[in-house]
Symmetry: C2
Subunit: 276 residues, 2 copies
């Protein structure tokens, strides 16, 4: 499979998530990757993925990643960083982690992660997958390619594409797109964590224009086990996002990511800062 070959020879995503052992247990070092640059610092999604990677690689890990909250406390500068992952509490079936990303011992990012063992229980998906045309019938969008990180994703907007000159304000903030990595790569949990932040800020759609905006805090719940995530392979994920309320310089954004087979892979929420 193409994506495995790419992964082995160095997919940009795997390169950005390469972490080396640092000064002590749970301490890892990494480097920002120019391929994931955003307006200021790296794409928030790749930072989230780095923190997930740090927990998944830790020998003390219990179970799978169930939830993740990342707080973007300050921009990350281009260059090296340190990640410290600490299992502050380990129970019989769940484990609670605190994680931080620092540069020169200054905190840029804080996070908490809950991991745990999934058990066989009653299951049901109450959320409804949007009805959309197949991915291959929706043309890829390339006008975001001026932002480095966006070049790593093949985005096929079904509704709510990026505003362009003349789009004007929109009454509904919803965007739904088929999305996968570019070049394609088999989905895994860190990549899913990154995809949860792939949406352009909802305020842009409502205002119909570019306004400065950035994620302050991001929380993702991982509904699907790593096995279901792996079944997705490199097929496009259906991703949909919407907002609840804007005001005082902040808005909330919620998202759901669906496998091409109709499994709800993740639900994600974020608080976003905006100007104007």
């Amino acid at each position: 499979m193409t994506e495995v070959a790419l992964s082995e020879t160095g997919h940009p995503f795997d390169r950005a998530l390469t972490l080396e052992e640092g000064r002590g247990e749970g301490v890892l070092t990494g480097n920002t990757d120019p391929a994931y640059s955003n307006m200021v610092g790296p794409f928030g999604g790749v930072t989230a993925a780095v923190l997930v990677r740090a927990v998944l690689d830790d020998a003390r890990l219990l179970g799978e990643v169930l939830s993740l909250t990342v707080n973007y406390a300050a921009p990350i500068a281009d260059g090296p960083f340190e990640v410290v992952a600490t299992p502050v509490r380990t129970n019989r079936s769940t484990q609670h982690w605190t994680v931080s990303l620092t540069q020169d011992d200054v905190v840029t990012t804080t996070a908490t992660v809950v991991t745990g063992v999934r058990r066989s229980t009653w299951s049901d998906t109450e959320a409804v997958m949007p009805e959309v045309p197949p991915a291959e019938t929706v043309p890829p969008y390339t006008k975001l390619d001026f932002v480095a990180w966006a070049r790593n994703y093949e985005m096929r907007f079904v509704t709510g594409a990026v505003p362009e000159p003349g789009t004007g304000p929109q009454p509904d903030s919803t965007t739904t797109l088929w999305v996968r990595e570019r070049p394609s790569r088999a989905l895994d949990v860190p990549a899913l964590a990154a995809l949860c932040d792939v949406f352009y800020p909802r305020v842009l759609r409502r205002r119909g224009a570019f306004v400065p905006a950035g994620t302050v805090s991001l929380t993702t719940y991982f509904h699907a086990g790593a096995d279901v995530v792996a079944e997705q392979g490199d097929r496009p994920v259906l991703a949909t996002a919407w907002a609840g309320a804007f005001g005082g310089g902040y808005f909330d954004q919620s998202a759901r990511l669906w496998s091409s087979d109709g499994h709800l892979l993740a639900s994600s929420h974020q608080l976003v800062y905006f100007k104007q």
Copy 2:
């Protein structure tokens, strides 16, 4: 106003949130309150409120509470606890806190809080307040009173009341209720933080029966400034909650809390553990 008099003479909620200065800056001590006992340990909402209280009382605070994530790592035993609140990063308009609750130096609860200055910006509420009858026309529900903490809330279920024998499985997890403190008390931000966890677990509604369930991680975004929250006074808040997906022993629950004047006060999300 009745609620002010009650607050001054010791409303149970204020008693539960009483914190004393501890061993150093940002270190506070408190005690669990029997009035807020749940099945195991205290009501998660009051724990969230204690952590918010700790940040709001800190002399280093910048702005208002914008977002809160609480991870319930272990049950809190009846008795004393210590809260440590640390502003790990202070920017021009936002501040990032890590907070922990410990008992005998063992972590039971971790949290992150983002505070910040709200600025005048474009605003709009895209979420739609449910259409419901006025609170005073909906009878209060008292059959949850066997749980200590529930006795502190006047709950008037509009839809999705607590399952009773014979209710049976339900296709929709949504519950909407008018809710305020009992005895009534003027709303403030810690009380709002607690109210975001006032819903019985969605899995009970879907299964139509009581099954063991508990919050693992709770995230709340505070849309309304403290001034708008205060305008609510002791009137009932309209609270609505629903689930997205159940499986593997966990489900997600989302909620919105509306002022009686139609302001979206908060959006809240949680990951919940359940059995069976």
